[in-house]
């Protein structure tokens, strides 16, 4: 018993202190995974903020966009043309979703909209497999100009390896968050979008077109999905297993709140780093594989103490 307590509370920290270079490596790996979780969560937040729709299909949109990109390249398009064409496809998809799904479900209950996006998930999954095959594919990262090398950092008598692609992922994620923030605060459409988020009725009454806004946010999160798909695909590969991993973004949203971009980033990093540390230092005690549920259990425990999320406001119920 004492031994168990020791291995749970003391041993992991001793190990961290003993090999700090390894600790840095683990944290970095967690950081990069966290960025990808954060990006998926970001896609959720964009749509939720503007339309109140909880978009379950965000994960599959990541896979779908990556598959389209690879598929177009395989069909003979040069990588950059394929990328632009994929953006076009995501735009058409966004307009289609707005026109044929959202517009028909205006004013429906949240749960019904959620279920509609679950239906959408099935459609995209089926379509992705039908057109591009169900097998695992590798991302065309070389063709897109990502170098596959690594940067070595000698520190604490050890070596920490930073893959170039991971660094690129971090930089691109930061750029994207900055771009989105500017978009929200500086452009006319961005301001309209925030108005819609605050109050649908009021936004309509001052002449903002909801349909247009919805198409735009779905397109924006389609682009976020594409970037996520490229980054994720470059790190591992593109497969439908990603859809299950993308569910972790739900846990991220619980931590960060459903409407906060900053929350999505912080939540994503918390989950990413937390689960890597837990897996590496505590996982062996439980027999490994704890990454599969760590994010959800963390979110669950968190919810019990702070149901409104990290950045949310205290909920006052009214009757």
């Amino acid at each position: 018993m004492q031994e168990l307590i020791h291995s749970l509370t003391v041993a992991p920290f001793m190990e961290m202190g003993q090999y700090p270079d390894f600790l840095i490596q683990v944290v970095w790996e967690g950081f990069v995974a966290g960025i990808l979780y954060a990006l998926i969560a970001l896609g959720f937040v964009l749509i939720y903020k503007a339309s109140g729709v909880f978009n379950f299909a965000q994960g599959i949109m990541v896979v779908f966009s990556a598959l389209v990109l690879i598929g177009l390249h395989e069909a003979g398009m040069p990588a950059w043309i394929a990328l632009i064409a994929t953006i076009g496809v995501m735009g058409i998809l966004a307009m289609g979703i707005e026109r044929f799904v959202l517009r028909k479900l205006v004013n429906q209950h949240d749960a019904i909209l959620l279920m509609a996006t679950i239906g959408l998930t099935l459609v995209l999954k089926g379509a992705g497999q039908l057109f591009f095959g169900g097998e695992t594919k590798s991302m065309i990262s070389d063709e897109l100009g990502f170098s596959s090398g690594a940067y070595d950092w000698e520190v604490f008598d050890g070596l920490v390896i930073f893959q170039h692609i991971d660094i690129a992922a971090a930089v691109i994620a930061v750029l994207m968050v900055i771009a989105l923030s500017l978009f929200f605060s500086k452009t006319r459409i961005g301001r309209a979008l925030r108005a819609v988020a605050d109050d649908h009725q009021a936004a309509l009454s001052v002449g903002i077109s909801l349909n247009q806004i919805w198409a735009i946010v779905w397109f924006a999160s389609g682009i976020v999905a594409l970037v996520t798909g490229i980054m994720w695909g470059a790190r591992s590969d593109v497969s439908f297993a990603l859809e299950i991993i993308a569910l972790k973004a739900l846990a991220v949203l619980i931590l960060g709140g459903f409407t906060s971009i900053a929350g999505a980033i912080v939540g994503g990093l918390l989950v990413g780093i937390g689960e890597k540390l837990f897996e590496v230092y505590w996982g062996p005690i439980f027999g490994g594989g704890v990454e599969a549920w760590f994010a959800y259990v963390l979110a669950l425990i968190f919810l019990l103490f702070r149901p409104q999320g990290l950045f949310g406001e205290r909920i006052i119920e009214r009757v």
């Binding site: 679950i118 459609v123 379509a127 039908l130 299950i244 569910l247 619980i254 959800y296 919810l303």
Partner: protein, 360 residues
Amino acid sequence: MFYREAGQYKTSYAADQALLPLAQDRYGIAIVLFTAFVLIPFFGTSFFLVSIMIPFLIYSLAAVGLNILTGYAGQLSLGTGAFMGVGAYACYKLTTYFPDVNIIVHILLSGVFSALVGVVFGLPSLRIKGLYLAITTLAAQFFLEWCFLRIRWLYNYNDSGAIEVPNRDWFGITVTGAEASPVARYFLILTVVAVMTLIAANVLRGRIGRGWMMIRDMDIAAELMGIRPLRAKLSAFAFSSYYCGVAGALMVFCWLGSAEVESFDINHSFLILFMVIIGGMGSLTGCFLGAAFIHVLPVVMRAVPSMLGWDILASTVEHITQIVIGLLIIFFLIVEPHGFARLWQVAKEKLRTWPFPYAT
């Protein structure tokens, strides 16, 4: 004119509160039961029993379980697959330790274990509502999946990591395992499903079921009418998980014959959820309609190309099926968010006034 209450006078509240107050409904159910208990086992081929009827009934039971929680008590769950798994593994361990006890007893007991697990994961529902609760059930799903894989005791330290169902008898007839005949398995499942559905209908129309629906429709008002939210929600979790657990045990013992962690993964949770959505939230009839549709549609779609002589890959058909189901879900949500059950109701109302469509 065929479906009318005219002339059927009720002289007591008891008659008015009967499960099927209309004579036509009673005849309908009698015909369905007669078909299920007599015609199908007598005329059905073993392919029909094993590939269509048995999975259909098991899925229906699981859908009843999820519908109690989501459709009647308003608590969204994405962990149905895992709760089914708890039932299956519990039944496996029970029959390992007590091989001489009747398998029916084990199957019915195994639900108790998943009810307990359901209550544990339902505890947060007091503080967490709606979509947030979905995260709790996702946590249950992935944590339990991990348990099914990592706790080797659950599958008796097999190298395969799978549970193999032993042959078990009931009054001298083998009902589980490889030697069981389809008809025997079918009868066992049909009986369990019929009895449990009747019990669910009874609970739902009484005090307890009303409490669940009150929480679903307006939780604050329910509390001000004296409903204790925690008790109502946890009882819904327990009751629902019991049904899912029994469905899981039946699935492994009377249908699949063996199972591993993949048999209870999140895709199963979604599958059952689709059945409930398409069938109709808050309707027991809907559970059966939804299960029939979601299970039978792929079977039919698989059969169609070969019947027409088309040469299409099986995987292609599967993908098309997936797209069709997805589109149908969206279509249903747009046209009729209350699913088949409401369509059925509308059809009955039409029948009531037929052939005078404007009469009320």
